[in-house]
């Protein structure tokens, strides 16, 4: 029994000597340290992304509120121009255009794509203009931020009436960083209703009725209501 124990101890000693002599030990140590380093780096980067995404939403709402109060007496056309700038700064229109047309996007020509983006932007402007004055009387608070997958960031918030006369509204912003690493809004869910999904249902229905004719879609969306 003692002889066997001695043999095992000798083998372990030999192995220890081998690892201490070779560079394997060094490589293992370097890889281990590098892993820890990259882990913390990625954690820091994702935390940084969460903060940036949240700041984007809050900054946009501050600017929208300022815009609502500062431009009340402005000419409607000038007001619209200012809103357009605000939207272009914070919303990823190209992404929304692709997301709302699904597989039909690939079949459209570049001129049709450009025109559809303009029409979509105008629709967003109209929607925001309708609700802007109401928005300026309400308050917003962030509830949580969450990293989803590689690029997406969810920012959940609550819109409240300071006088508590209106019920609170749950909001979910979906953001992703662009090539310049600034965060842009991809979708907005109000009480679980996604704007991209509902707009997609509408555009797909029009496109299917018109056998995928993109011009028909643009004309119908551009029609004055």
């Amino acid at each position: 029994m003692n002889i066997i124990n001695l043999k095992i101890k000798k083998r372990i000693k030999r192995l220890n000597n081998y690892y201490s002599k070779t560079t394997v030990k060094k490589i293992f140590t370097i890889v281990f340290i590098a892993q820890i380093f990259f882990f913390f780096l990625s954690q820091e980067a994702s935390a940084d992304n969460l903060i940036k995404a949240n700041k984007t939403v809050e900054q946009m709402l501050v600017e929208a509120k300022q815009h609502a109060t500062n431009t009340v007496n402005l000419d409607p056309n000038k007001r619209t121009k200012k809103i357009r700038l605000l939207i272009e700064k914070y919303i990823n229109i190209n992404f929304m255009a692709r997301a709302t047309t699904g597989a039909f996007w690939r079949k459209a020509t570049s001129a049709q794509k450009d025109k559809y983006e303009i029409v979509l932007l105008n629709q967003i402007i109209n929607t925001i203009e309708v609700h802007l004055n109401t928005l300026s009387t309400l308050s917003y608070k962030t509830i949580s931020t969450e990293l989803r997958g590689k690029k997406l960031v969810y920012v959940r918030g609550l819109i409240e009436d300071p006088k508590k006369l209106k019920p609170s509204v749950n909001i979910l912003w979906k953001l992703a960083a662009n090539k310049q690493k600034s965060f842009l809004i991809l979708d907005l869910e109000i009480e679980n209703v996604s704007l991209v999904s509902s707009h997609k249902a509408e555009t797909i229905s029009i496109l299917r009725k018109n056998k995928g004719n993109f011009n028909a879609l643009i004309n119908q969306l551009d029609k004055p209501k």
């Binding site: 992404f95 109401t134 006088k163 508590k164 679980n192 209703v193 996604s194 509408e202 209501k225």
Partner: protein, 245 residues
Amino acid sequence: MKKFNSIFIILITSILLLSGCTNNINRTSETSDPFEKFNRKIFAFNKNIDEYVVKPISKKYVSTLPATARESINQHLYWMNLPQTIINSAFQLEIENTILASAKFMLNGLTLGFYDLDDKQTTINKKDFGSTLAKYNVPEGPFLMIPFLGPKNTRDFSGYILDKQNIANISSSKVDDIILLEVPINIVTVREKLSGTLESVYNSSDPYIKMRSFYIQNRRATVYNNEYNKFKDKEKDQAFEQLLQ
């Protein structure tokens, strides 16, 4: 009364069978709308009723009554609907929600629900028979546009009838009279709450599709459990990630 009950049972059974005619779409994002043509006609009818009758009354209601009075009426209507939540939470074995809703119903009963003595501190998940049927995996069935009631899927419509039947069975004739009075008030208050949403629906290029999409998204998210919502979110995330590449 017996004749009415038998008609009622036949109606519910046929609706549930109709909802079983479609595949269980709980796990897909597809919308089953085989009656689209007919639904569009009902939608146009409802829209006219809304524009020419309900909307003007709702506007008058908002301009005449002060906000605090409207809030009290909203509170009262919410309180009147709590028994429905209590019954359905119990059916769904959501004990916490049942207890909270019962406590709130009894507490606010002191003011007939016109004033919330709890000061909106307790959050109660609204439950109806449609959500109970969903809990027991009854498929949502085809999408329907009901005259005066608006969008509903087959399962929710049968749930709605059952809920109304429950309240009628447990209430006395005097309470029935109160409900008759409250129905128009309820319609007006709901119209007031949804005015912004309805405007955006009517201003869209295909209001019917927009209404259907709003209803289905909101209903699925509130009726199904967290597991389903997580699954749906994951599905959407993957689609977004693909588009971002």
